[in-house]
């Protein structure tokens, strides 16, 4: 722009300042949100409301049939039901052991893969179990464990680990046999998540630690691990949420037996609701499972949120 032009522009009456956007977003708030709210209501709020309602009723499926108000009967029955508490115990054992193994092995696997020349091929192979539907994986392992023609059974017996015993027929072993299936299927997911975290570890920091004479183990714990903590927490959260709702492997492998030794809570809930059609009692159990899932999920997320600001603060101080 020339000086004259500038002068011209300057002598002009000042252009009116652009009008602030007077469209009030609030006008559109409701119409824009409504479809999502309706969808959400249909998908979760209504079922949740129905679940709460059912837990205080004896529920009949017949259309128009009166649902009999039973007050707190379902709740008191649940509290007194030893199988309910037993199922929680089995679920806790299963979830904690599976998650610990998956996170431990998955991290180890990720570290090994990260250093491998054949990472892409190995990752592809490693992901194969995860691609299988859990119920299919369960059926596959049922054949492998089968005492009559199962390959794993034959192998374990041949090397003298079973001593002519059984895998799924032994109440003290069956749960751990299912843990193995879960670990086999879902460790790759943890490995994948951790591997993606490892890719973000600053190379210069790793190299610096090596230059300072740290070995691979020390470098991992002091440099890599703090960087992949967020990935690990995500992995823990995902596996925890999955494990607490698990049912497929149990249905396919043991059906909760022998002698209720593998009857985890979701299976107990399924049995009450869809085998015996005691929907009121099933709803009560489902509510407690939902509540515990939400609380524990929230606990994991909160601990993640608490760590992140601290980490960012620490990094800020360093900078």
């Amino acid at each position: 722009m020339s000086v004259a032009e500038t002068a011209f522009v300057e002598t002009q009456a000042p252009a009116p300042a652009p009008k602030p956007n007077k469209v009030k977003p609030r006008r559109f708030l409701l119409p824009l949100l409504l479809p999502a709210v309706i969808l959400l209501a249909l998908l979760s709020i209504y079922p949740l409301g129905w679940l709460i309602y059912s837990s205080f009723h004896s529920v009949s499926l017949a259309p128009g049939a009166p649902q009999e108000w039973v007050g707190g009967d379902n709740w008191s029955r649940m509290i007194k039901d030893p199988l309910y508490w037993h199922s929680w115990g089995i679920l806790a054992k299963y979830s904690i052991v599976s998650m610990a193994l998956e996170v431990g092995l998955g991290t180890l696997l990720a570290v090994l893969l990260n250093r491998s020349k054949h990472e892409k091929v190995l990752v592809t192979l490693m992901l194969m179990p995860m691609m299988m539907a859990p119920v299919v994986a369960g059926l596959l392992w049922q054949y492998l464990y089968n005492g009559t023609f199962g390959w794993y059974f034959w192998f374990l017996e041949s090397v003298g680990l079973l001593h002519g015993g059984t895998i799924l027929g032994d109440p003290s072993l069956a749960l751990w046999a299912i843990v193995v299936v879960d670990v086999w299927e879902w460790t790759p997911l943890v490995a994948l998540i951790v591997l993606s975290g490892l890719k973000l570890v600053p190379k210069d920091q790793m190299e610096a630690s090596w230059m300072d004479g740290a070995g691979p183990v020390r470098s991992f714990f002091q440099v890599a691990l703090p960087s992949i903590k967020a990935s690990l927490i995500i992995a823990v959260l995902l596996r925890f949420m999955d494990n607490i709702r698990i049912i497929d492997h149990f249905i396919a492998l043991t059906g909760g037996g022998p002698a209720n030794s593998t009857k985890v809570l979701p299976l107990f809930l399924y049995e009450q609701s869809f085998s015996f059609f005691d929907l009121g009692y099933g709803s009560t159990i489902a509510l407690t499972l939902l509540l515990v899932t939400i609380l524990l999920g929230k606990f994991v997320v909160t601990s993640f949120e608490e760590r992140e600001p601290k980490r960012l603060k620490d990094e800020g101080e360093v900078l």
Binding site: L61, T166, I167, G169, P171, A174, G257, A259, E271, F276
Partner: protein, 513 residues
């Protein structure tokens, strides 16, 4: 040969399927009066073919179990026999029994009408869903509908089949007997012969089986094999049991042992009708404890993985040569006779289930060859339209006719329910050679392997050997309790007494006693 290939034999049978039933319908129509279900008077049909064709164009869905009899019916339907006769399309959906029950229960209770015809396994299905089936009584005498030439009286079915499959809680006829699974005793007669002398030397009596063989004898046989196995792993273990995932067959496995001793029954109710208020259970009494002692002793002779073997898996174990004997449902004879089976090619003998033994009897009851069953009927969803009900009834009549059952026996190893089927010359010839110490034992080979069991089931399913119940509304919960507690007993987590009493406590609580 593929079942879809046609042979002169097939053609003559199809003629029977398509024409014979129609002719018999005409006869019945001429003799019978009217009916409250009649949509049209009998005279409205120019001929019998019209009677069969009256629901032409209707589409029906039949939900059933994925066992050989229904697989056979499906094959016959899919090759077009039923459509050709009636013009009705039928879709046959097969599932595992628990899944089938779940789907049927959701459909019937909610009135969704997804299924027109419902497989009615006597206790697991009918106990829970009896009220949702159509009463067939009026249809059975409706002259405007085609009817089976055999009729529907009790004597036209195998013993007790109609009693088990037709009713639940009331005298409404809710199903027609469609297929069956009756328990028979199956054992490796080649091994009995091979080790017979050794057994006789040790136990002082012959290693032979027959209707008078008791559970004590079976325990001896099984224990003998288990001991042999300890020194020679090629010898099978003793007794196979049904302890795996399927609670109902575990309850049946225990029930037949207990019933053999003084005809012990789960509840004091009429086993044919069942009861919605069964009252206190008999579990916990002395006989039940003694019976559990025997069952645990049998378990101790079995394979170490017995707790993981359900009905199908224990059959696999038998076929693999892991066990020497078991009580099994007679439909499994087809797989036992297969060349690939360790007991195939005539090495397996079939006989009535063992008799109770005086040493396990408490009090003075009768010792019998306790035999139980799953007799399934076919029935109609009460929510569907009247037109569809009539079409569905036509399928019920057709699928339970002797002609179709005979055909099915050849196709899938079906399990006929009609008394006339075992009497057909070709089937009688297929009942194998007599074997064992009585008149009911048979060995193959056989063209129709399931026929090898017919003498045994005819005796076993008759009074006083047959135990038919219990039909109670919470039957599926009840068998889950029994199976779980018996598994605990076998796993060494409880004693027979604790097991029986725990079942008693839980069952009475379940039934509001």
């Amino acid at each position: 040969m593929s079942p879809t290939q046609s042979t002169p034999h097939d053609l003559s049978r199809r003629t029977l399927l398509g024409g014979g039933l129609a002719a018999s319908a005409a006869l019945l129509a001429a003799c019978s009066g009217g009916s409250s279900t009649s949509k049209a008077p009998a005279s409205a049909f120019a001929n019998d073919a019209d009677r069969w064709m009256q629901a032409k164009g209707t589409k029906l869905t039949f939900i059933t179990e994925n066992t050989p009899p229904s697989t056979g019916i499906k094959k016959i339907v899919e090759r077009g026999d039923f459509k050709k006769l009636t013009g009705i399309d039928v879709e046959v959906l097969q599932f595992d029994l628990p899944v089938m029950l779940q789907k049927a229960e959701l459909d019937l209770q909610s009135g969704t009408k997804a299924y027109d015809l419902i497989y009615g396994q006597d206790k697991p299905v009918l106990s829970a869903l009896a009220d949702y089936y159509v009463d067939l009584k009026d249809y059975l005498t409706d002259t405007s509908l085609p009817q089976a030439k055999e009729g529907y009286g009790d004597d036209t079915w195998l013993p007790n089949y109609a009693a088990v499959a037709d009713y639940a809680y009331t005298k409404r006829t809710i199903c027609l007997p469609y297929d069956s699974a009756d328990s028979v005793f199956c054992y490796r007669r080649d091994l009995f012969e091979k080790y017979g002398k050794q057994f006789a030397d040790q136990y002082g009596y012959a290693m032979k089986y027959g209707p008078d063989s008791t559970y004590k004898n079976v325990l001896d046989f099984a224990g003998f094999f288990k001991k042999l196995h300890a020194s020679d792993s090629t010898v099978p273990y003793g007794m196979g049991l049904h302890l795996g995932q399927f609670a109902w067959t575990t309850q049946l496995d225990v029930q037949r042992v207990l019933y053999s001793h003084g005809q012990w029954r789960d509840f004091e109710i009429d086993d044919i009708l069942g009861s919605k208020t069964p009252g206190p259970t008999n579990w916990g009494n002395e006989q039940s404890i003694k019976g559990l002692e025997l069952y645990k002793a049998l378990y101790d002779t079995s394979t170490p993985d017995a707790l993981s073997l359900g009905t199908v898996e224990v059959a696999d174990a038998y076929n693999a040569g892991k066990i020497a004997m078991l009580s099994q449902f007679h439909e499994f004879a087809s797989s036992f006779e297969a060349d690939s089976s360790a007991g195939g090619g005539g090495k397996t003998a079939y006989d009535v289930c063992p008799k109770g033994d005086a040493s396990y009897l408490v009090g003075g009851g009768q010792l019998v060859n306790g035999t139980n069953c799953g007799i399934a009927g076919i029935g109609i969803n009460s929510s569907i339209s009247d037109e569809k009900k009539r079409a569905a009834y036509i399928f019920c009549v057709w699928s339970t006719s002797a002609a179709v059952q005979q055909e099915n026996l050849g196709i899938s190893g079906g399990t006929p329910t009609r008394a006339s089927v075992p009497e057909v010359a070709a089937i009688k010839d297929a009942q194998g050679k007599p074997y064992g110490t009585g008149s009911t034992g048979r060995i193959g080979p056989s063209k129709f392997p399931n026929a090898l069991t017919f003498p045994a089931i005819t005796k076993g399913m008759a009074t006083p050997n047959a135990i038919l119940g219990p039909k109670i509304p919470k039957f599926n919960q009840y068998v889950t309790i029994v199976a779980t507690e018996v598994q605990k007993l076998c796993a060494g987590q409880s004693s027979p007494e604790a097991c029986a009493k725990s079942i008693k406590t839980q069952t009475d609580q379940l039934n509001g006693v």
